[in-house]
């Protein structure tokens, strides 16, 4: 069950998307999010989705990974859909029964928002799938580097993020182990109401937190032994170079943004 979590997972590869400058990739992702929010009609949205699907195809990441990234947000999707369908009461009435009214506008905006959220998740997972966490945090660090007062806090934050991402699989593995150990001692985690289930988590989280602190101490020591002394004077093995393909992809993204604006003019407005 815990193995399904794919946040922050990285799939090494050599596709064109993998080789883009991480800074550019970060900017492109933000541009894509803006694109999705600019789109006010299904045509505009289609252009935005075409952009992310094209990027996905270029990355060579298997399509089922895209579906996998959507699994954890299923509840959110269902929740938004329900809210939109039942609470928007304008437009042609398609269905009416006692207090339940389903209108065309409600269904249309539900579909619209679902597509938008799916796009958001797929787009941002593509970023983490194709960029190693270190490169990603590096990119953030470097984008902020020109702003001097922010340099230090951003480095610290970036380092913390790197470590957090690095330890996700380790801690997941550990949680599985602790769960198995507690089950072997007769802990019952599946039955009972919500409160009871929440209580059952305490004997899992307490040992997990204790061991995380121990790990943190050891890691800090190991980092010190490897001459870590903050961001000052650090160099990087992987240099970030913007090359032709980065400019090309920036230009392509600009074209898609223009495409969204243009397509919106053609189609009926949803929002």
């Amino acid at each position: 069950m815990l193995k399904d979590i794919t946040i922050g997972q990285f799939f090494p590869g050599h596709s064109i998307i993998h080789r883009l400058d991480p800074r550019v990739k970060l900017i492109l992702t933000i541009a894509f999010i803006v694109m999705l929010f600019m789109a006010g009609s299904f045509y505009g949205l289609a252009v935005g989705m075409a952009f992310v699907l094209l990027s996905f195809a270029l990355s060579g990441i298997p399509f089922r990974m895209m579906l996998k990234s959507l699994r954890p947000i299923m509840p959110i999707l269902i929740f938004t859909a329900v809210l939109n369908i039942f609470f928007i009461k304008t437009g042609d009435v398609w269905f009416h029964w006692r207090f339940i009214t389903i209108t065309q506008n409600g269904v249309v905006s539900a579909v619209f928002i679902i597509i938008r959220i799916v796009g958001l998740i797929v787009g941002s997972s593509l970023l983490t799938y194709t960029t190693s966490p270190i490169q990603l945090t590096d990119a953030i660090e470097r984008l902020f580097a020109p702003i001097k007062p922010l340099r230090r806090p951003v480095h610290d934050l970036a380092m913390m993020m790197t470590i957090a991402l690095r330890f996700i699989p380790t801690l997941i593995e550990e949680t599985d182990k602790i769960m198995a150990a507690q089950k072997a001692r007769g802990a019952d985690m599946e039955s009972g109401n919500l409160v009871k289930k929440a209580r059952a988590l305490v004997p899992i989280f307490v040992p997990l937190i204790v061991s995380s602190f121990k790990r943190a101490m050891e890691l800090a020591l190991a980092m010190e032994c490897r001459c870590y002394h903050g961001g000052e004077g650090r160099t990087r093995m992987k240099q970030m170079k913007t090359s032709l393909r980065d400019y090309a992809s920036l230009a392509l993204t600009a074209v898609f943004i223009a495409g969204v604006v243009f397509a919106d003019k053609l189609g009926p407005k949803v929002f």
Binding site: S132, E218, G233, K238
Partner: protein, 288 residues
Amino acid sequence: MNTFLSAKNLKFSYINNMEEPPVKTEVLHGISLDIKKGEFVAVLGHNGSGKSTLAKCFNAINTADEGEVFSCGYDASKEENLLPIRQRVGMVFQNPDNQIVATIVEEDVAFALENMGVEPEEIRRRVDEALKTVDMYEYREHAPHKLSGGQKQRVAIAGIIAMKPECVLLDEPTAMLDPKGRAEVMKTVKMLNEEMGVTIVLITHYMDEAAQAERIVVVDSGNIVMDDVPKKIFSQVEKMKSLGLDVPQVTELIWGLRQEGYDLPEDIITEDECFEALLGLLKPDVKE
């Protein structure tokens, strides 16, 4: 200078600030130890005897309360010597999971060099070299959490040797590994010592690993109680037992046989030597 790591009358205490007033526990009670360049020293001692504490004094993680510590000629008590010492004296810990910082093998190996401010091309070159040295080059783009324990520990070693240290302190590097992983790590350690001339200090609870060293130092409750070549150390079976330590299995076997009155040499520490000795006993005629 020939001595490479040296401690003179080193005393060290941990201070527990949780209590009021803070409680001070002396863990090292005046240790004097000289380790020469290129030596392979094993450190033995039961749990809590202060082995790890001693090792941490040598790379300036712990600073001595009394006495002096010199690592590669740098005074370990001086703040400004911290980084030069840590570059020259690397340290590998027990749990490989807790010393790997990055999510990609090669990025982890590069970590120390990045901290030291080495040029990017030079980092690349040294990372590749270090990975080849520990025989993990083909895994350079893998995620560390998918490697076996022995492989992870070799990556951790690569991260240290990329700094080109003159000395590596290993604190029970094989404690969490299976026999295969242990053998891999020991092979790497021996290779570092023999082919690259790196000074090795190996803290271990495995006597067969200690037997591979040139010299064994036995620590008991914060004091050095024995310091000699493995053969001399392990031939004192009773003393070792009184310190709560074992001797290699073969040594124990031969010792038991000697107790029964068999005429066998007392300084047997490897399986081959044991085999020869027993063969000599069982088939005296074959020997000639």
